[in-house]
Subunit: 317 residues, 2 copies
Amino acid sequence: MAIAIPTSEELLQAHNAIAPYIHNTAVVTSKTLNQMSGASLFFKCENFQRMGAFKMRGATSAILALSANERERGVVTHSSGNFGQAVALAAKELGVPAYVVMPENAPEVKKAAVKGYGATVTECESTIHAREAAAAAIQEETGASPLHPSNCTNVIVGNATAAMELLSEQPNLDVLCAPVGGGGLLAGTALAGRFFGKNCKTFGGEPQQVDDAYRSLQSGIIETNTSTNTIADGLRTHLGDQNFPIIQQHVEDIICVSEAQIISAMKLIWERMKIIVEPSSAVALAAILKEKERFKNKQVGIIISGGNVTLSALPFS
Amino acid sequence: MAIAIPTSEELLQAHNAIAPYIHNTAVVTSKTLNQMSGASLFFKCENFQRMGAFKMRGATSAILALSANERERGVVTHSSGNFGQAVALAAKELGVPAYVVMPENAPEVKKAAVKGYGATVTECESTIHAREAAAAAIQEETGASPLHPSNCTNVIVGNATAAMELLSEQPNLDVLCAPVGGGGLLAGTALAGRFFGKNCKTFGGEPQQVDDAYRSLQSGIIETNTSTNTIADGLRTHLGDQNFPIIQQHVEDIICVSEAQIISAMKLIWERMKIIVEPSSAVALAAILKEKERFKNKQVGIIISGGNVTLSALPFS
C-alpha cells in the first residue's frame, strides 16, 4: 500500500492546531560549540517543551485529529518513557480520557508523572507482547483510539513543528539534524526541512549499538536491532511503515556514533550550554562533531529532543 | 569613612560600557514552580552568561574603569572559583594582562579554564594568608591593579546590570531575590531594584551554615563565619565595607535556608526547568519557597548566579 506523505499544508495545519497547547521553545547557540564544530549550530530546545520533550507535539497533534466521538472514548498507548507522559498531558489539556500501559519495572517517578496528569495507568510485564496485549484489551473494552509514538502520520506532522519553528527563526539553515529511534522525529524534521527550508538537507544521528535506521536505508527494508545496548534509551526502537518512506525520500544520510561519542557530546552540552538534555538528544550533536568536515561553515539546526533524565544515575565520571 | 553609594547614572553607564562584552541573558519561567510557590517567578539566567556566571559583569566593569596606564600594567586577583575565570576572560577581551592566584588544590579544570583564557596562573597554599601574600607580591612586581570579587564599587555596579536587564523585561517586579556570599551581587541587585523598580524590594538568600550576612544586618557590624560547611561554595565569604552599607540601606531582609532546602531547590530547577545551576544559585529559590506566604501572588525576580558545577560530584541521590 502506498503511503500518503504529508503535504506542507498539513504541516501548517498541524502547527496552527497544536500551537495553543505547546511552547514555541527557545533556540540557543554556543560560541564554544561553534568553534569546536567549525559550523554555526542552532539548538532547538525541546527539553524546555511541556513535559520535557518534543513528544508533546505529536501527542497533541494526534489527539486533535480524532473525531469528537473518538475523543469521548479516549486514547490508549503503551510507553515506558516520554510518549506516555505526553499522551497523558495532552489528553488532560484536551479533556480526553487517557489509558497508558506501562511496564511494571518502569521508574516510579515516570508512573507518578503519568498518573499526575490524570491518566489511567495499567501495569504489565516488561515485554513488547505483554504491552501490546494490555493495550489491545483496553482498546477492546473502552473503544479508546490507539496512539503509536512514532509510526503515525498525525504524530509525524506534530513532530515536524519543532523544525518548522526553528526554520522560521533561522530560515537559512543548510542542515537539520535530529536523533533517530522510532523515526517519527526524523521523518517530521525531514518534511519540515524539505517544505520550509532553502535547499536544507536533513541528517539523522543514531547510536551504533542500535543502527537499524542506518541499515534500513542501506537495504531498503525496515531492519531491526538484536540488542538495545545504548545509553540513548529513547532510540532503541525501529522504524515503521509510515515514517520509513519519508525517511527514504527526504533524509540525506544517517550518521552512527559510539556510546563514548554520545556521552562526550552530552557532557559538552551540559557543561558549555548549561542545559539538561537526555542522552538521545546528544546523539545529533555527536553526529555533527563526528563528521565535522562535512558540515564546515554550514548553518546547522539541531533538534534537542528532550531533557528527562534521572539525576541520580548520570553517565559522568 | 563614608561610602559613596553608586547612583542610577553610574549603573546606566556601567551597563552601556559592559554591554558589548556580555550576554543579555535569557529570563525563563516555570508553570510548575509558579504553582509550587504561589508567586510568579522570573529567573534571570546568569548560568548562560559568558564563562557561566554573573561574575563576568563585575569583572568587565572593574577593568573598564581602570585608566589606560593601569590597564597596561594589568590586573591581579586571587580566586579558586568563578571570579578568577571572569577576570581572565574579561582581561583577554580587553587586551589587558591578568594574573590569577589560585590555591594549589583548586580543581585542574578550573586552573585550565583560567589558563585557557590567557591569564598567568600562580599557585599557592590554600590559605587566605598565602593567597593574599601571593597577590600582593604580584602587585608589587608588576604594578597590576588588584580586583576584589565583591567588595569594590566598580564590581558592584557591574553586578547590578543583571537585575537592570531583568527589570527592563519585567518592570513590575515586586521582589528581587539574589544569593548573598561576599555581598557584591546582593548589593548590586538592591541598587537596581531601588533605582529601576517600582517599589521593588530586594531579599537575600543565604545558607544557614554561613549566615554572616544575616547576622551582620542584625548586629550592624560585619560578622564572619567560623565554618564554611555549605554546598553553596560561592557563598562562603563575608561582606565587605563597600557593599555592607548598600545592603543595610537597600535590602529588605535576608532569609536563611538549610542545606537540604538548597539541594531540594537545586533539584527542582534541574528537573523542572532543565537548566544547570550551581548550588549557590538555588539558595535564592530556596529562600522564596521557605517563606512563600510572604511572596504569595507577587512577581518575583530571581537572579540565577551561575552554572559552573562539577558533573561528577552532584548532590543528587
